[in-house]
């Protein structure tokens, strides 16, 4: 195990001639270095605004957007409320889609009758544009949270069920054989072999699903809502407030970015056992 060098450097009060940077700053610099492509684009944006390449009526300067963002977030707290709504709906839909998707995916991979029943349904329903039938869902579920959660659920369910199914199908037969000769019953084979072996696939599905959830939540709130980030964005558009609109858009991207990074970090922790492909 490699010790975390940054964390170890901090509590050593040795009178060194070489000044060491505080651990927090070091970590921050590391993050900046890792994400410099993102920083570069943001910098370019600000630069183009400053030299007058962008019309502020369409694309306001990043610094103005950030200022508006700060006010909406920490002074009026309006943005915080919209974030809470969007995040709440998206999380519930994602959690439901993940739970049902993983369960159905495993069953498909293990029970032939379920596989032959569900597989054509996936082929038929997955390509159906969910946003196009969203108004129909509102007729049945109302314009409130339920229809939006249902939309997210559908959007998350399919990538997860497909990934899980592929993962379960892909489990090496010899792992299962080995388990059975060690006395594992079918339930134990499920939990100790099929599930862990399929996990990396499931995780890939979760990632796609989570990013889909971000796209769909905003889209559904653009169509019909009284709160949420999508609502904020469409409201800003209608009131000709591009700075506010970009503050909303930037919030969505940043949330998606952070969530995706966290999920990937979790994946790296969980799948340390995995053989890395050469490249």
């Amino acid at each position: 195990m490699k010790p975390d060098s940054a964390a170890q450097a901090a509590p050593l009060p040795r009178p060194s001639s070489r000044p060491t940077l505080p651990a927090g700053l070091v970590r921050w610099l590391h993050a900046v270095a890792r994400y410099y492509p993102v920083a570069l684009i943001l910098l370019l944006w600000e630069l183009c605004s400053r030299i007058g390449l962008f019309d502020p009526l369409f694309v306001p300067a990043l610094s103005d957007v950030l200022q508006t963002w700060y006010v909406e977030m920490f002074v009026t707290h309006d943005l915080l409320v919209h974030i809470a709504y969007s995040f709440g709906r998206a999380s519930i839909g994602f959690a439901m889609g993940a739970t049902v998707g993983i369960m159905v995916g495993i069953l498909m991979g293990r029970v032939r009758a379920i596989e032959s029943f569900v597989d054509p349904l996936i082929s038929a329903i997955f390509p159906t544009p969910k946003l196009a039938i969203f108004p129909l869902m509102m007729v049945f579920l109302g314009i409130g949270d339920a229809s939006k959660i249902a939309l997210i659920f559908l959007g998350c369910f399919f990538p997860i069920v497909i990934a899980t199914y592929a993962g379960v199908k892909n489990v090496d037969k010899y792992f299962i054989w080995n388990a059975r000769t060690k006395g594992a019953n079918s339930r134990q084979v499920m939990w100790t072999v099929v599930f862990p072996a399929a996990m990396p696939f499931v995780f890939a599905g979760l990632r796609t699903a989570m990013l889909t959830a971000f796209l769909l939540i905003v889209a559904s709130e653009l169509i019909a809502a009284n709160e949420g980030l999508g609502y904020l964005i469409i409201f800003a558009q209608r009131t000709f407030n591009p700075t506010l609109m970009f503050a909303g858009v930037l919030t969505v991207s940043t949330m998606g970015f952070i969530a995706d990074r966290l999920l990937q970090a979790l994946g790296r922790r969980l799948f340390r056992w995995q053989e890395q492909a050469e490249r």
């Binding site: 080995n178 000769t181 060690k182 072996a197 996990m199 056992w273």
Partner: protein
């Protein structure tokens, strides 16, 4: 040991195995295979590759069904796998998501042993195969030979009365191989398990076994069963120095060679 020491522990009777191949043709992997192993007998199975050694072992394990014929263990018909019949698979197939120690502890875990108990058992067998210090490693961090030894420890930890081993020393370097051969000899002399041992090494088969089954191919069948009348307990160097050892080795070698040449024509 009871008076019925000669009653078969494992009995394979007229087993055929046909596989449906991708091209819809049928492949006869085993044809009319019959033999019996007495309790505590060490039997090796040798033959050209593709002659059905693994298939035969998996049928005895209960992992594959015979197309015809039966396998009985202690007069009970085999219909599925059991922890009483320990298996080391040819590609070892230990679980990459489990640390070495949790791999070895797998069998005890499945039968519900406490965490403390199964870790104690696992440590003991890890020591047996000389990998005690790798307990907390993941399999990907180990060499092929080490993984193979983990698979052996994993089987030993179930304490089965029958060992079914498919080329368990195949991925080992010559030196480790000889060490483990000695260890298996000692273990067998102490516990007297019934062993079916598939190997490519005729030397290994003669050294370890009471009898060697020589198989022929297309269809896979038993060509002959060679009794190995060498004294026990055996020490590898002493046994290899005996003139009978060379005679037996040459005999089996010639038998397989004829078979292999025939196959290549």
């Amino acid at each position: 040991m009871t008076g019925q020491a000669d009653a078969p522990h494992i009995s394979v009777d007229h087993v055929n195995k046909r596989f449906q191949t991708a091209s819809r043709a049928q492949l006869q992997a085993l044809k009319d295979v019959s033999f019996a192993a007495t309790r505590g007998e060490f039997i090796s199975i040798v033959g050209p590759s593709g002659c059905g050694k693994s298939t035969l072992l998996y049928i005895v394990a209960g992992l594959l069904d015979a197309s015809d014929g039966t396998v009985t263990v202690d007069d009970e018909r085999v219909t599925g796998p059991s922890p009483e019949r320990g298996v080391v698979l040819q590609n070892f197939s230990i679980f990459p998501w489990r640390r070495v120690i949790d791999n070895v502890a797998y069998g005890p875990e499945m039968r519900g042993a406490s965490r403390q108990e199964r870790r104690r058992i696992a440590r003991q067998y890890l020591e047996t195969v000389g990998l005690g210090e790798f307990a907390e490693y993941f399999p990907r961090e180990l060499s092929g030979g080490m993984k193979q030894r983990i698979a052996i420890a994993q089987m030993l930890a179930c304490n089965p009365s029958i060992f079914l081993m498919d080329e368990p020393f195949g991925a080992l370097d010559a030196l480790t191989r000889e060490v483990l051969q000695e260890q298996l000899l000692r273990l067998w002399e102490r516990d007297r398990k019934t062993v079916l041992f598939v190997t490519h090494s005729i030397d290994e088969a003669v050294l370890l076994s009471d009898r060697v089954i020589v198989m022929a191919t297309r269809p896979g069948r038993i060509k002959e069963i060679v009794p190995i009348d060498l004294p026990r307990p055996r020490r590898a160097e002493e046994i290899r120095a005996l003139p009978q050892f060379g005679t037996l080795r040459r005999h089996i070698w010639a038998s397989i060679r004829a078979e292999t040449l025939e196959m290549m024509q």
